[in-house]
């Protein structure tokens, strides 16, 4: 260290936000960039989203395909779009786990002592994990195509299906950020998050048709947002009714964010 500072340290009061608009968006993007860089520097953080699509496609496809649809390739046509929804929901758990770990670090003390929006670190955490959704969707579509999955509609609709699944993942990540802000240990966030995610993802027509299930389970499916997202993704990728399921899914995405984003921000603020 040099004996004296050469950088100008003459004090200066920072300009208020009003001078430069969109402060919240800029701060959130700066923090999302941090999350993205961290993920890319620790590629093992992407192992789950890379291997899960392969394992689930192979397992369900070969295990159930013959029995339920005659052969694997035919079964994949109904499995893959729904599996995409399940995988994006699984991928969103990590946002809450990382957020919980971040809250324990001194770095977040620094953020809290700076003139940035209280929601910026949370929005940054959600957006920064976009790469996880992209990886899991790309691997799923790549691997399942090799096993015989085909998009029967067109690329634009298929893309819309992907975005819808990712949108539900983003929405659910606010639930996990809330858990991350409330629970002290990243490990407990993961545990509780899986408890939330299993009924959402497996309590669906992911693997088998609704008609085969008891009434109470069918009642759950009538309200489970994943069912609508899975139906919408199937319609958009392999044909079938689209408008209804898409509308319900979008409403759920908006509803989950409207309820859980403020709760997560409030829980984060209370931690201070």
């Amino acid at each position: 260290m040099t004996a004296v500072l050469t950088a100008d340290t003459a004090p200066e009061v920072l300009a208020p936000d009003a001078k430069r608009p969109f402060a919240l968006a800029r701060h959130s993007l700066a923090l999302a960039w941090r999350n993205l860089v961290k993920t890319l520097r620790n590629p093992e953080q992407l192992i789950d989203v890379t291997l899960q699509p392969i394992i689930f496609t192979a397992m369900f496809g070969f295990l159930l395909g013959g029995a339920l649809a005659g052969d694997t390739a035919a079964y994949l046509q109904t499995l893959v779009p729904a599996l995409m929804v399940m995988l994006t929901l699984f991928a969103s758990i990590q946002s809450g786990v990382n957020f919980s770990a971040d809250l324990k670090s001194g770095l977040f003390d620094r953020f809290r002592s700076m003139p940035i929006g209280r929601s910026a670190p949370l929005i940054g955490a959600v957006l920064g994990d976009a790469i996880r959704y992209v990886v899991t969707v790309v691997v799923l579509l790549g691997f399942s195509s090799a096993l015989g999955f085909r998009i029967d509609t067109d690329p634009a609709r298929a893309l819309a299906a992907c975005l819808l699944a990712i949108g539900l993942g983003f929405a659910l990540s606010w639930v996990f950020l809330l858990l991350g802000a409330v629970l002290k240990e990243p490990g407990s966030v993961q545990g509780v998050a899986f408890l939330v995610t299993f009924p959402l993802t497996f309590g669906t027509n992911l693997l088998t048709p609704v008609e085969s299930m008891p009434g109470w389970l069918q009642a759950w499916m009538d309200v489970n947002p994943s069912v609508y997202a899975m139906d919408a993704a199937r319609g958009l990728m392999t044909g079938g009714p689209v408008a209804g399921p898409v509308a319900v899914t979008l409403a759920w995405i908006a509803g989950i964010i409207a309820v859980f984003a403020p709760l997560a921000v409030a829980a984060y603020r209370r931690r201070t």
Binding site: V13, A23, S113, T272
Partner: protein, 319 residues
């Protein structure tokens, strides 16, 4: 001069534990206020309230005249924080850490680059700028943390035990940085467990114990509270120790003690006694290798004020 920050009757409780039991503090602009106390005395809680990280349960805290609970964002534009645990991101490089802070402070791109480069150079981190922080040593992280706290040219800098765990050479370097900041007009609140550090840097010291300020003053004033200065003599030959002890007893009227082998210390009630002792030693032809009129150090201050030393306290206080 105006007040850079002040607190009145600040109270903070965590469940049954009272971390701050009515703390009054104040620092003039461009000065260093040392907050001295053992672990668990409430120093970090104090800093966290002033840095808007904790809401107090009672009392007020103002930075630059602005209430920290009413207008926290206005306070945040004026402060820099360097924590006890280095608050930088392990997975980012040194440069990226400063870049992130600059972007969050709404600095322009060019300013972020030039300021990061200057600060990295000042803190001897230029060569490590492109390495991720997880490869840094403890001292390097501490320096980067301080650099990050200075990105926004804060008016007031809170340094929470900035030199804990640093080796003595690095500690002295950090002291140089603090002095330079103050020369530029920055106000510094420095918490420390090192009595020597508060003595070296602070214009005024508040001594904390169990959530209270038990003494406040300049280092010299605090030393005066403890009273008596002492004469320290180390005769050249051990065989003259008895003669020196007799001489000291005669001139001061106190019984000399031996704090170390071969050294005698005795309270001196007036400065004149010291010069008389010096003259008498010369007359008696007794050579000395050390001869001093010493003010008490801050360890003595702490002991006098609390009845225990800073070190014994650490064991019994909750973390």
């Amino acid at each position: 001069m105006s007040t850079a920050f002040e607190t009145e009757g600040l109270v903070k409780r965590f469940g049954d534990f009272t971390a701050l039991a009515g703390v009054d503090l104040a620092a003039e602009e461009g000065t260093v206020l040392g907050v001295l106390g053992p672990n668990g005395a409430g120093k970090t809680t104090m800093v966290r309230v002033l840095a808007t990280l904790l809401r107090p349960d009672g009392g007020t805290a103002r930075v630059d005249g602005i209430d920290v609970t009413r207008r926290p964002d206005e306070v945040r534009r004026r402060i820099g924080l360097t924590g006890q645990f280095a608050s930088v991101d392990d997975d980012l490089t040194g440069f990226e850490n400063l870049q992130l802070i600059g972007r969050l402070l709404d600095l322009r791109g060019g300013e972020i680059r030039s300021r990061s480069k200057r600060l990295l150079a000042d803190f001897d981190l230029t060569d490590a700028a492109k390495r991720t922080v997880k490869t840094y040593s403890g001292g390097m992280r501490r320096r980067l943390d301080l650099a990050a706290g200075l990105m926004g040219r804060p008016k007031t800098v809170f340094l929470d035990e900035p030199t804990t765990g640093l080796d003595p050479a690095k500690r002295e370097e950090l002291w140089g940085v603090v002095r330079r900041l103050v020369a530029d007009g920055t106000t510094v609140l420095l918490t420390t467990q090192y009595l020597e550090e508060a003595d070296a840097l602070a214009d005024a010291i508040s001594v904390f114990d169990q959530g209270r300020v038990i003494a406040h003053g300049t280092p010299a004033e605090l030393k005066r509270i403890v009273g008596g200065q002492s004469i320290i003599v180390r005769p050249t030959g051990a065989d003259s120790l008895d003669a020196v002890a007799a001489l000291l007893r005669r001139f001061t009227g106190h019984e000399p003690e031996s704090p170390q082998r071969g050294v005698l210390a005795v309270p001196a009630d007036s400065e004149l006694v010291f010069t008389a002792v010096v003259a008498e030693l010369a007359l008696a032809g007794i050579g000395v290798t050390e001869l001093a009129l010493r003010l008490p150090d801050l360890d003595d201050v702490f002991f006098t004020l609390t009845g225990h030393t800073a070190a014994d306290k650490k064991e019994e206080v909750p973390a």
